[in-house]
Symmetry: C2
C-alpha cells in the first residue's frame, strides 16, 4: 500500500470515520442473482450470505477471489517479563525466522489457501513498556505500528487475513477487551499458549494492575490500543483500516486479532463492517468478544494458535461461497424446473 496517510491518532481516527461503505447496487444485484441459481432457496446457508457480503464490498455482483493476502505481524511485550506466558519471550523472534523459512503452521495454511504471506517483525529488540507501569506505547510508537500495518496491505489483494506472533500478547488482548467492555479480569484472561492455574491467576493480577495504571484506556478504543496493546496489535488494526480504504474484505483470526479489531470498532462504530470472523478460537474469551462485535464465526475447530491460522483456514470457505455465487448456472440457463 502507499504510505499511511496519518501521523497522529487523531488523523487516524478521522480517516477511520470517513471510510467507504459497501456498494448497495452490487449487494442488490448479487442478492437477485443468488435467488436465481440452481438450488433450493437458502440451501447454501451461510455461504449465500457471505458471498453476497463479499460482492457488496468488492462492488461486483459476480466477484472472484484470486489474490488473497495473509499478513503476520510480530511484536514483543514488556509485560511478558511478568511471566504471563508458558513460553520465553525469545520465541517471538525464533518464530519469525520459522515463518520466513516456511516451517510454521501459517506457511502451510497460506499455501493451501493460495494466499501470499507477508511477515513483518516490529522492533522485536525493543519490547513495549510493561503496561502495569503505564502506557505500553507512546503515541508515536502506536502510530508507527498502525502505519506499518497500513503500508503492508497489497492494494491489489482481494481478501485479507491478519495474524500475529508475540509472546505475552493474549494478556495484552485481554487487557484491551477488559478496557473496552468491562467485567472482571477473569472474564477475559485465558490460558494462551498453555499457562497453568497459577499463571492464569497471575494474568488476572496483571490485567487489574494494567487497567489501574491506564485510566484513559477505558475511555477510547485507540487509547486502549496504545496503552494496553502491542506493536503487532496496532499493525493488525492499521492493516484492517487500510483494507477498508481499498474495499478489501477482511477475515479476522482469533482472540488477539479480534481484540485489536475491537479497538477500531470502539473508536468508530461500523469500522469492522468489511470484516467477518474466520473462526472461534479455543482461547476462552474469544467467543464472548465475537458476540460483543456481533460476528458469527465461520469455523469452530478448537484452534488457538494465532498466526492468522484460523482466518487463513477460512479463506477457502469464503472462496467456495463466492465461487458458487459467481459460477453457478441460473434455473433459466440450466433449464431446471422450479419449486
Amino acid at each position: 500500500m502507499h504510505d499511511a496517510p496519518f501521523s497522529t491518532l487523531t488523523e487516524f481516527r478521522d480517516i477511520l470515520a470517513a471510510m467507504p461503505t459497501a456498494d448497495e447496487g452490487a449487494l442488490a444485484k448479487a442478492t437477485e442473482r443468488n435467488g436465481q441459481l440452481t438450488k433450493p432457496p437458502g440451501a447454501l446457508g451461510d455461504l449465500e450470505d457471505m458471498a453476497i457480503w463479499y460482492a457488496a464490498w468488492r462492488g461486483d455482483p459476480r466477484p472472484r477471489i484470486e489474490r488473497p493476502q495473509v499478513l503476520i505481524f510480530a511484536g514483543n511485550h514488556g509485560v511478558a517479563a511478568r511471566g504471563v506466558s508458558a513460553f520465553p519471550a525469545e520465541v517471538t523472534a525464533q518464530m519469525v525466522l520459522n515463518f520466513q523459512a516456511g516451517g510454521a503452521a501459517i506457511n502451510q495454511l497460506a499455501k493451501a489457501a493460495g494466499a501470499q504471506l507477508g511477515v513483518h517483525a516490529l522492533d522485536l529488540d525493543k519490547p513495549t513498556a510493561d503496561f502495569t507501569q503505564g502506557p505500553a506505547m507512546s503515541e508515536a510508537e502506536v502510530t508507527g505500528a498502525l502505519a506499518t500495518g497500513w503500508a503492508a496491505v497489497d492494494p491489489k489483494a482481494d481478501l485479507l487475513v491478519v495474524g500475529e506472533m508475540g509472546i505475552g500478547n493474549t494478556t495484552s488482548a485481554a487487557a484491551i477487551a477488559l478496557a473496552l467492555y468491562g467485567g472482571a479480569p477473569s472474564d477475559w484472561a485465558g490460558r494462551g499458549t498453555g499457562v497453568d492455574d497459577a499463571g492464569l491467576a497471575l494474568k488476572c493480577d496483571v490485567l487489574r494492575q494494567g487497567l489501574a495504571a491506564n485510566a484513559g484506556a477505558a475511555t477510547d478504543g485507540l487509547e486502549a490500543l496504545r496503552c494496553l496493546g502491542g506493536r503487532e496489535l496496532a499493525a493488525m488494526a492499521g492493516a484492517i483500516a487500510a483494507a477498508r480504504a481499498a474495499r478489501i474484505p477482511v477475515i479476522l483470526d482469533g482472540f488477539i486479532c479480534t481484540a485489536a479489531a475491537a479497538s477500531l470498532e470502539s473508536a468508530v462504530p461500523g469500522a469492522l463492517d468489511h470484516t467477518i470472523a474466520g473462526h472461534r478460537s479455543a482461547e476462552g474469551a474469544h467467543g464472548q468478544l465475537l458476540d460483543r462485535l456481533g460476528k458469527a464465526p465461520l469455523l469452530s475447530l478448537n484452534m488457538r494458535l494465532g498466526e492468522g491460522s484460523g482466518g487463513t483456514l477460512a479463506i477457502n470457505v469464503l472462496k467456495g461461497a463466492v465461487a458458487c455465487l459467481s459460477g453457478m448456472a441460473t434455473f433459466a440457463e440450466a433449464g431446471v424446473s422450479g419449486a
Copy 2:
C-alpha cells in the same frame, strides 16, 4: 475401481465385515511428529486429530492430499409421486445435466477443492418402487446400485466425498433413520428442499406407512437400505465401502449421505471408522443422526443442498490440517525454544 466383488447382500456384508483397519504404526508416528511441531501443544485443535486420523488410514505418518474425488449419484424415487418434495421429479435428471454442464454448486466447490468430480445417474427413467407399498428395491436392484458406487471409486484417489441428487430422497433417508434408530416419524422428517407444514405432515404419514409396509427394514441396516433407500443411497454406501477397501478416507456429506452411511454402520459396527462428518446440515435431523454415529461435524454453515456440497467444502479444511502435520518444522529443526 475394479468390478465390485459381490453380487448378493450377503456377500457384500461379508466383505464389509472383513475390511482393513487403520494403521497403528502410522498413527503412533504421526502422533509423535505432531507433538514436536512448532506450536503450543494442541494449539491446532481439531486439525491435529483429523490429520492424525488421516495419516493412520493412509498408513503414512506424513501424508499429502493430492487427489481428492467427489462422486455424485442420482436416483429417482417412487415415493416422490406422493408429493413429498417441493420440486417435481424431473428435476433429478435436469440437475444431472446441470452437473455435467458445470453449472451446479458442486461443480464450483469441487473445483475450489481441487477435486475430480464424477456424476453417475442410476436408471433415472426407472424410479424405485413406492416404499409405502413394499420394498423400494429388489435384492438385485440394491446390489446393482451398491456395485455402481463401488466401481466408481478411483483407486488412486486419496480422499473421497460422496453426494447425491434425487427428488424425494430426504424422505427415503428419514425412513432409513427411523428404521435404524426408532423414534417418531417427526423426529427424522425435515423440510428437504422446502416443503411447508402440510408437506411435512405428509412426509410423516409416508414414513409411518413405509415402516409398516417394510417390517424387515428395522432388523438390519442393509435391509433398511434395500426397502427404504434409493439407488443413489445404495451407490453412496457402495462407494464408502470401496473406499474402505482401498484405505481411502471419506468425508460424509449431509443427511441423505449420512443415512446411507448409517445403514453400513448398523450392518457392521465400525464400517464408518474411515469416515468423518464434513458438516452438519440444516436439514433438521442431521445433527441427531451424526450424534448416533458419534461423528462431530467439521463445518456447521446451515447448508442443506446435498450434492456432496458440505463434504466437498470440508476437503480444504482437511487438506490444511494434513498440510500442517506433514509440512511444519519441528522445534528442533526450527531452533525454537520450548515451553
